[in-house]
């Protein structure tokens, strides 16, 4: 089910004016603190009324200022995991989980099952006082899941979780999507979560959508570096394993050449995604000598963006793929990196980001 959003709303001095589609899969809303992500999600959930606009989910109209449609919150069938967990203090953990099925009959899953997946079985009989931040948030996620919504709205749901727990829950969210076809609209600051989960990205800045599309495209737009943050900017490329020789170094084909990665745990022929951060790419006008086995791709410079600070962002074409590099202004000038120039991109580090086969193989989150 595709979610279509086109809304406007004035909040104090802040003007929200967002239009985007969230197709099936996991759409990540990404933007800096205060950019309006929560306000958008609240509008979709019906907790904030847009001044005007439309919100459709599949063929259901949730809101339409022209047609004066405004489906009440409880009929929208959306699961909302709040930034703060908002557990009901007067109910036990189990009753919190069962809340949706109690009030609306929604949801046929047993709470134990979901609790098991979230590692909160031992809390079921407890009351909510004294729960740790992470425990509370896991219960909140479980509660929303058990409502079996058409779409899950998640507002930084994992921010208070520790790494191992995050890593455990993420695959469950993926499975959930695969199993039930429920789409997810996901707000996060965490680029690793984006790379891991996103099938679609919406970049928000100052209340407006500045870019949206598949991660491969959005993340390699040099204008987006400012929004994404320099440390998180980088490309996501599709790759195929072409050889797994005995020396433990796997050979991957990308559209622009070959990459060599030690011990990629996937059979020859599998498709996967690799993530190359802009800060891990350096440029050279000549093919570096004596470094034959380092990952080097010939590229053509598409754009050079100077930001504040000493660095520049270079967008390059490598085969059919786009790459980003962040180099110092000084070396950019010295090397004569400019639009149209051809050079070589040297990758300090390449991370396997997501495969279609084995979900267990991702980089650390």
């Amino acid at each position: 089910m595709t979610l279509t959003v086109d809304i406007q709303r004035q909040l104090g001095h802040f003007c929200l004016k967002a239009a985007f589609d969230a197709p099936e899969g996991v759409t990540v809303l990404f933007g800096r603190s205060g950019s309006g992500k929560t306000s958008i999600i609240r509008s979709i959930a019906g907790l904030l009324n847009p001044d005007r606009g439309r919100i459709h989910l599949g063929d259901r109209v949730l809101f339409d200022s022209d047609a004066r449609t405004n489906v009440p919150v409880h009929k929208r069938r959306l699961g909302y995991v709040f930034q703060d967990s908002r557990l009901f203090p007067h109910l036990s953990v189990r009753d919190n989980l069962c809340y949706a099925s109690r009030v609306s009959g929604r949801g046929s899953r047993r709470p134990e099952e979901v609790a098991g997946l979230l590692g909160i079985e031992h809390l079921l009989a407890r009351r909510t006082h004294g729960l740790s931040g992470g425990e509370a948030q896991r219960i909140a996620i479980g509660r929303a899941l058990l409502a079996e919504p058409d779409m899950l709205l998640m507002d930084e749901p994992l921010a208070s979780l520790d790494g191992p727990r995050k890593a455990e829950i993420l695959p469950y969210l993926e499975t959930l999507r695969g199993e039930t076809g429920v789409s997810i609209l996901y707000v996060t600051h965490n680029m690793a979560e984006v790379a891991r989960l996103a099938t679609h990205i919406v970049l928000i800045e100052d209340g407006t959508v500045v870019q949206s599309g598949p991660p491969e495209r959005v993340l390699t737009d040099p204008d987006m570096v400012r929004v994404v943050g320099i440390r998180d900017a980088g490309a996501v490329l599709s790759a195929r394993v072409v050889a797994q020789p005995d020396d433990g170094v796997s050979e991957l084909a990308v559209s622009g050449g070959r990459l060599f990665l030690p011990a990629v745990d996937a059979p020859v022929g599998s498709e996967l995604r690799v993530r190359i951060l802009a800060q891990d790419v350096i440029l050279s006008r000549t093919r570096p000598e004596g470094l034959s086995a380092l990952n080097i791709l010939p590229v053509r410079v598409l754009a050079v963006r100077r930001g504040e600070g000493p660095g520049v962002i270079v967008q390059m074409q490598a085969g059919d793929d786009l790459l980003l590099a962040r180099i110092t202004r000084r070396s950019a000038d010295a090397m004569g990196v400019a639009e149209g120039a051809t050079c070589f991109a040297v990758m300090k580090s390449v991370a396997v980001s997501q495969t279609d086969i084995a979900v267990g193989l991702q980089t650390g989150i």
Partner: protein, 232 residues
Amino acid sequence: MMLGLGPEEWQAVLLSLKVSFWATLVSLPFGVICAMALARGQFIGRDVLNWLVHLPLVLPPVVTGYLLLLSFGRRGPVGGFLYDTFGVTFAFQWTGAALAAAIMAFPLMVRAMRLAIEAVDPKLEEAAATLGASRLRVFTSVTLPLILPGIIAGAVLAFAKAMGEFGATITFVSNIPGETRTVPSAIYAFLQVPGGEDAALRLVVVAVFIAVAALILSEWLSRRVARRIAGK
């Protein structure tokens, strides 16, 4: 018997308990509705409702009683109507005493509940709505449990006030032994006759005892409930 209460005095005590209990119980749902409307409602007449509710607090009880007599008396417009259509009569019956007590206690009840409702975090109600709860379900499953301490406080306050109510009661339904002579009326009667002070004092002690018991019970209940709704 303890305190040496005579049968008539016991009668007054039991009657007071009955009157206060029913006054509190019957006005409870109205109190909750009023408090919700005042705390959350956005409607014309909200202010009018607010001061109507508070009227019995402001008026001298005698006036309230007199107004009750005028309207709910057997010849009053409301009382006559109720009598003709339902055969219900308040005048000079213990039900009338309960009505007077309920009306006098109503502002206290509503105030206490209203403050409790205003203290409920709307974020929790939002969360409930996103989980599929209609407005009514949100109220019954989230708001109501969370304001329980406020409701208890309101109810006990109302009960205590009902136990002490005198002016409106005696003016409305008089002071008929066994029917409308509640503890305060009995105390009044004793104070009116020479030498009645001792009997009055005995009744005062009983009244205080009952009220203190109610308060302690409510404190305990309230604290238990408050602990529960704090998730402990």
